[in-house]
């Protein structure tokens, strides 16, 4: 008997999305009525024929997964990494039978439990005790199993005192702890986990990671999607990189992480204006990012200690005065946000928006050491995300004279201006 528990062959998942046809600049009421009448007619026809119906006039097939092949052996913990829209979640949904594949096949040996969200099906009106049973049953545990592990779950979640309180009265921390505790006590042969560890405080996150590690060590198979590369390194022996619905790499964690990080830098060869993997309503769209010095001339790379002016050039569909703009530059290190410079926190939340303009972030005394830093560009206008590009650009840094001591040998990653003193202890 082979030891392969999951085997995917030529696996594919297709979605059909519709586009509204452009009808020129001016729309008359007559055109709108005609178009509506036509679309009602088309939909009715499709409905009668039992075809799936899609909004919009022109249809496009999108393959969220295509020709995916892999094998996973019993007891392996496999991390799945990839950028947003690479098909990670779709793959998990197919494996956990939430959605059917459109092509190919997967054979799975053993009971699968999937944890795509913490607290699925929790009902706010029910008490903690009742929700443990409800959530357990939803995740596929039997009543007996839950009963057996009940005390363990409650102890793990640290909610003993509030067992008979409706969960709507719980703090969000308690809620998440309880929800994760139930999930952590699942005992399937194969566990499929989406990015669910990004919840709770850091102590609890650590506890969750530990629990996940136990699961993996008990010889059960774990599939784990995360943006947190550190968690992947800790938990998994193997990793799979998905890129545009295909397996770009599948092997050891180091190899896959390396591949993933190079693919990110490949991505940045495309200008930010032409990137398609962006989110938001595109009311405002980043067109270029520039790093400038105090004189306004552009920098190829930054020296630690230099004053840096980061400019996000954009094009907006209309001009707005005093809009609630939330613009942010985040530096990401292996999936975690290392630094987040956002207008919200620094008290510069009300800004004007021009049809063509740039947001400028002034970063005095640049305090990172030599390296290349992956950055996210984000902007929301009046509380709606306008544009959001992951891995939008890289900041290349060379060590400079940060401390003003004429010495540019620097250590660590983040530099902090400081001073040491010496005092006698007279107590």
């Amino acid at each position: 008997m082979s030891d392969i528990v999951i085997k995917a062959e030529q696996l594919g998942k297709k979605y059909i999305i519709g586009h509204q046809r452009e009808n020129g600049r001016y729309t008359a009421l007559r055109d709108v009525l005609m178009q509506n009448a036509r679309s009602v007619w088309n939909k009715t026809r499709d409905l009668v024929q039992g075809k799936p119906i899609v909004q919009g006039d022109t249809l496009e097939e999108v393959w969220a997964l295509k020709d995916v092949n892999f094998e996973i052996r019993r007891g392996e913990a496999v991390g799945i990494i990839g950028r947003n829209g690479a098909g990670k979640s779709t793959l998990l949904k197919v494996l956990s039978r939430i959605t059917e594949p459109s092509a190919g096949r997967v054979s799975i040996r053993g009971r699968v439990a999937s944890l795509l969200e913490v607290g699925t099906g929790f009902h706010p009106e029910l008490t903690g005790r009742e929700n443990i049973y409800l959530n357990g049953a939803i995740l596929g545990m039997t009543r007996l199993e839950i009963k057996r592990k009940f005390d363990e779950i409650v102890a793990f979640a640290e909610v003993e005192k509030f067992l008979d309180t409706p969960v709507k009265r719980y703090s969000s921390g308690m809620y998440v702890r309880l929800a994760f505790a139930v999930a952590a006590h699942l005992e399937p042969e194969i566990l499929v986990v989406d990015e669910v560890l990004a919840v709770g405080d850091s102590a609890f996150q650590k506890k969750c990671l530990g629990k996940m590690g136990d699961v993996a060590h008990e010889g059960r198979t774990v599939l784990f999607v995360s943006h947190n590369m550190v968690a992947i390194e800790q938990l998994c022996q193997k990793a799979m990189v998905l890129q545009q619905g295909k397996v770009a790499d599948y092997g050891s964690v180091e190899q896959a992480l390396g591949m993933y990080l190079t693919s990110v830098s490949d991505l940045q060869k495309v200008s930010i204006a032409d990137r398609t993997d962006r989110r938001g309503n595109q009311f405002l769209r980043f067109t270029r990012v520039a790093l400038c010095d105090a004189g306004g001339s552009e920098l190829e790379q930054v020296l630690s200690g230099q004053d840096v002016y980061v400019r996000f050039y954009y094009a907006a569909s209309e001009q707005l005065c005093d809009a609630r703009v939330h613009v942010s530059l985040a530096i990401v290190d292996r999936g975690r946000i290392l630094i987040n410079l956002n207008s919200y926190n620094s008290g510069s939340a009300v800004l004007d928006v021009y049809e063509r303009g740039f947001f400028e972030c002034v970063w005095k005394n640049f305090n990172l050491t030599a390296g290349s830093y992956d950055c996210i560009a984000f902007c929301s206008v009046n509380d709606e995300v306008a544009d959001w590009v992951d891995s939008a650009f890289t900041i290349l840094v060379e060590n400079g004279d940060f401390f003003g001591q004429g010495d540019s040998t620097l250590h660590g990653i983040v530099l902090v201006p400081h001073r040491w003193y010496s005092h006698p202890d007279l107590s």
Partner: protein, 282 residues
């Protein structure tokens, strides 16, 4: 690969386009605990944060019964079935009607109400609408107590036909489940159907023989009238509760049964057909 059924092959699951049907009914059985727990959730959440709680299950049909008795019995002067008091005759129909209409409304909104489950966990989706029907059934059992009270008040003894009542209850549930399944599946994609149900329920209350006896329908129209599946169900209920001397119009009853069976078949087959795409659309 060996063909011997070892413990390993027992758990082998193959996912392929169009393959989902194979284990469906077995899965449905395997997930019976989830069915029970979802039904229990719906029942226990239903009257949370209400002051009179379960009394709502009683008040609504009771008040409607009073209004119908006055309008149809007193004002319009319609005859009752046999020698049963008019109020009792109305209430004997109010029970299955309320069961049908609340089961239908609950079932048709059930998938949308559980969208988060559908997009995050696998289980046979048929569980959701069928579990909600249980809530309607519990309400039905509670208002049944009122019927017993009324029979004591009117000193009306049931006859042997009362033993058939569970069969008619089942029939009322099946009558609501068929269209309920169909509409809840359509509702996933077209929210239009959400607006149809309140209309059907309101309309149906007057079209079905709830406020009056179906004996007032002219003889030549009885068969056509029985195309409404609730005609058969309500006549059956009245017969079971009020006594064997007013049996239903049997050809009509058979037709109602056929219509119920047809809708049930349609509901299940349409639901199963659309089920695969629920998670992608909801």
């Amino acid at each position: 690969m060996h063909n011997t059924p070892t413990k390993q092959t027992e758990h082998l699951l193959i996912l392929e386009p169009g393959r989902a049907d194979k284990n469906y009914w077995r899965d449905l059985w395997r997930y019976r605990e989830l069915f029970l727990i979802l039904a229990w959730r719906d029942v226990s959440v239903r009257y949370k944060q209400t002051i009179i709680g379960l009394a709502w299950a009683v008040i609504r049909p009771f008040l409607t019964m009073i209004v119908f008795t006055i309008i149809f019995g007193r004002v319009a002067g319609l005859p009752s079935d046999g020698n049963a008091p008019y109020a009792l005759m109305v209430f004997a129909a109010m029970l299955p009607w309320t069961l049908f209409s609340s089961a239908l409304s609950e079932a048709s909104n059930s998938l949308i109400g559980n969208a988060n489950l559908i997009s995050k966990v696998y289980f046979p989706r048929l569980i959701i609408p069928t579990a909600t029907v249980v809530t309607a059934f519990i309400d039905f059992l509670i208002s049944f107590v009122i019927l017993v009270g009324m029979m004591i008040w009117y000193q009306y003894a049931p006859s042997w036909s009362i033993v058939l009542l569970p069969g008619f209850m089942l029939l009322a549930l099946l009558a609501s489940l068929g269209p309920g399944l169909w509409i809840t599946a359509l509702n996933v994609k077209y929210r239009d159907f959400r607006y149809i149900i309140p209309f059907v329920v309101q309309f149906g209350l007057y079209v079905s023989p709830v406020g009056f006896s179906s004996n007032v329908i002219p003889e030549q129209w009885r068969l056509v009238y029985s195309l409404n599946p609730m005609v058969g169900v309500i006549d059956g209920f009245r017969w079971a509760i009020l006594g064997a001397d007013s049996p239903p119009y049997w050809p009509g009853f058979a037709l109602s049964l056929l219509v119920v069976a047809f809708f049930l078949w349609l509901g299940i087959s349409q639901f199963r057909k659309m089920e695969k795409s629920f998670a992608d659309m909801i």
